[in-house]
Symmetry: D2
Subunit: 286 residues, 4 copies
């Protein structure tokens, strides 16, 4: 059997589930998990993720997508994505000096916990080269010189295109990317911000958290948009801190949350669990 | 529009979602939320909860159930339950002296957070009578005399039957009910146990927790079965404690977890979100 | 034995613990819990909470305070507070229509979980009168008429003064109090804000949280200062929400967090566990 | 300045804090953090951790310990431990095939988050040799042959003795160690068990958790004693799971909790924060 999933967004109206499930039954697909959400039954948005099995050891050819488009997707005006579990998405990681989020992703990936093909890692610092190459992955050092951000971004975009990347993960990449860069991968760049957004957007959030005297610190994984730290939130988590923790303690303790929040968000994207709706996300079946 | 939900369990095979959703479309039902789970695509169990809207301000008559049985449920060999949101389930609460779980339920119910018709409260102690009557609910004091457990249970069962109760909540009812009692309401008696089961089953779990020196204490809401503290778990939660907490502190801090865990479990049952599978539960869409 | 505690803030320098503990030993006090924190060993601030027992069934007279002032507090330039557990602090609650935080406090207090003498409840709405009087407490309805905030505050301050109140709890009091009001009870007004501050300060935080699409919602208990929602944080907590939760769901689920966060903060204040340091708090031994 | 800490256990009686702090003041020590706990003011046990600074860039010689023993420890009958932060404890890690707990410890250690001198790693499997050597640490493969557990333990004890190890961490070492082995390092062997003990002691706890249908899974770090999975608990934590998670999912998700729980427990031991009291622990100032 071949595992597949279908992620659908469209305007709600009666009959969508029946049309999709009827289509799958007709082509001998067996639904193994289905999760559906409607923002408002009256003219709201309809979201659905269907995981199903198709007969045969190989994923079916493009005919399934063609048939689905004609029979179901176009009549209902759907945004949709059909993916086969056997075909992992191609992903790249951008990172600066801090290595904790990067290593967490590589570590989980090397154990089979992240269903991706990692094309490589790009960094504006050379420090993580050895660590990355230990995992058998290419490392590209693309420094960002004073006043030459555009050239650096151009070089990064070229590399990402050469790799055919479908997902870009900012695993503590500490430069602000231009709107032009971000717009090239809409809802396909995941950033980890080291605070519970919208609190402490911008620079040095642990310092901000310390100064405000909060009792919990957090991390937020979100899709990058052209507005800094304002894109759709995918996942957040927090841990408790106390008056005993200085800024350095917050940084250290926060790393653990950053690591796990980012890893969950990346996994959910790779498993086609996330639909974007304006500035919010629907995350299915986790 | 009239809100309804369908909770289904059957052996998995292709076409179930298509049959159910096709049926609903045919009768002008609009699916607003659907959650499905399969334990194993190959001869496993299939679970599904469908929330949908039917046209008209009144719930449709029994014809919908009759049609569904004939067209869908019987061909697929389904265990199924069709409920209308406008018709709240009839529920009774059994309690002993501790009032925290009882009051939490009554308080939430009085705000509209628990979609139930509470028929009344039964207790083996008279202490909570005033508190219950403040909420405009009947209170029945049914003491359990030494060696007369059977008579007391008989009286309770008569009262529950007279009320036409569909759900019994043990909100810290401190007597062990006989298997005969429990078997009268299969998967329809919810108990709150004041530990993270299976740890500390039996009596005085906070004392047991203190003696073991655990760093977290918890509570477990589960369906009662004839085996004490061993029924299917619906919900669990924990809170952190420390060496500073004595047994009395654990009891006090634990009350908060007991209250919220029980309230969640009862609500999920009332909303038809829980399917039982052997000694486990599937809890949908929370 | 008589239980007491001493809460101390002063500039750090060697010998403070020795002076305090030597003093207590000299007067036959036995330390039962001690927690100390220094922001910076080099010219930082020193905070300490000492719980101790004094011989005798009655708290000692003022001589203990006089001696401590002369022998220890003045030489070290301490801000200090000596309290006896047997003498509960006098507290008032201000509330508007929402009753959940109010009832949680009254409920815990009636079980002995909050060591306070509650003098009474003041509200700008009459709705909670019956609920408050059920607990045997006075309820004062002080409406705030258009353009007459100052008169209403004057009436409230008079009532608080008549009660001899030492702690004011804003249990969802939905009016902004003037700086003049707030300054009358420095570090002695505890407010519950229904968000994880500093996110979503100001009005309707659940709506703000929904609009931002966060995955956790929270509550913050803090000392009120003249700047709205900006005072020293005492306690915070969060719970997980999902795309299924609308604004009304966030409000309902948030109530549970508001209740427990506020109850913890009030208890800690009553137990003299909180020291304020600029815009932050030190919370001892919880 | 030189950082030090003193961890003390003795029978409670008045004057202990005064004696210890007076001693430190006399020798120009400045207390920077103090945490004290008494199990019962009347003949209970007294626990205290004091962090302090001594003048001079080098830790003082043995004279401080000699003086403390004579002036304070012996008169009060104390169990005590004086450690200097600059002198890291010597630690060894025992591991079998699973590498997640091992790598988490090495990773944190390499960033300076675990104040230890790691002497080396011993394993009954060769698989983790490369990973360990990457960190510049020795790896000893000591297989346990059928019926030759005693010989293997002998070899391990020799190696640990040769290293002068003060702390042994079982980072998923999957063999049961003999009481003779465990008794050689009382309260100095930390084990991570992959369940929320006392639930699911023994083998394959994730399978047990799945079979019981729990809604949270956990991990427990504890000191090893001669009774399996029954030693004093240092730290525990849990994460939420659902009906969607099979045994393999529980294993994968549980790794994250195992990693963080073990890392915290090891760190607290290295910082002299843990006192053992019968089968329980006092954990100070975290």
């Amino acid at each position: 059997m071949s595992q597949a999933r279908l992620l659908i967004t469209c305007t709600d109206r009666p009959g969508i589930v029946a049309a999709v499930s009827g289509f799958l039954t007709q082509y001998h697909g067996n639904i193994t998990a289905l999760d559906q959400h409607t923002t408002d039954p009256d003219r709201g948005l309809f979201f659905m993720r269907v995981a199903f099995e198709m007969p045969g050891t190989e994923p079916p050819g493009n005919w399934l997508q063609t048939e689905f488009r004609q029979e179901v997707a176009e009549p209902f005006g759907m945004d949709w994505h059909l993916a086969f579990a056997a075909r992992h998405k191609r992903m790249a990681i951008l990172v600066s000096k801090p290595d904790h989020a990067l290593l967490e992703l590589l570590w989980r990936w090397s154990r089979g916990e992240l269903p991706a093909r990692i094309a490589g890692v790009i960094s504006n610092h050379p420090e993580n080269q050895d660590a990355v190459e230990t995992f058998g992955l290419p490392f590209h050092y693309i420094p960002v010189k004073q006043g030459a951000q555009a050239e650096a971004e151009e070089a990064m975009l070229e590399q990402l295109a050469a790799w055919g990347v479908e997902l870009v993960v900012l695993a503590r990449y500490m430069r602000i990317l231009s709107p032009e860069f971000v717009d090239r991968y809409p809802s396909r760049i995941i950033n980890i911000h080291h605070s519970f957004l919208p609190a402490f957007a911008g620079s040095d959030p642990y310092r901000q958290a310390f100064d405000r005297g909060v009792k919990l610190i957090g991390a937020t994984a979100h899709y990058a948009t052209s507005e800094l730290d304002a894109g759709p939130v995918i996942e957040q988590d927090v841990i408790r801190v106390s008056h005993r923790d200085g800024v350095a303690d917050l940084r250290e303790r926060g790393r653990e949350v950053e690591r796990s929040v980012l890893a969950r968000a990346v996994r959910w994207h790779l498993e086609d669990r996330i639909a974007v709706w304006g500035n919010r996300t629907v995350v299915f079946g986790t």
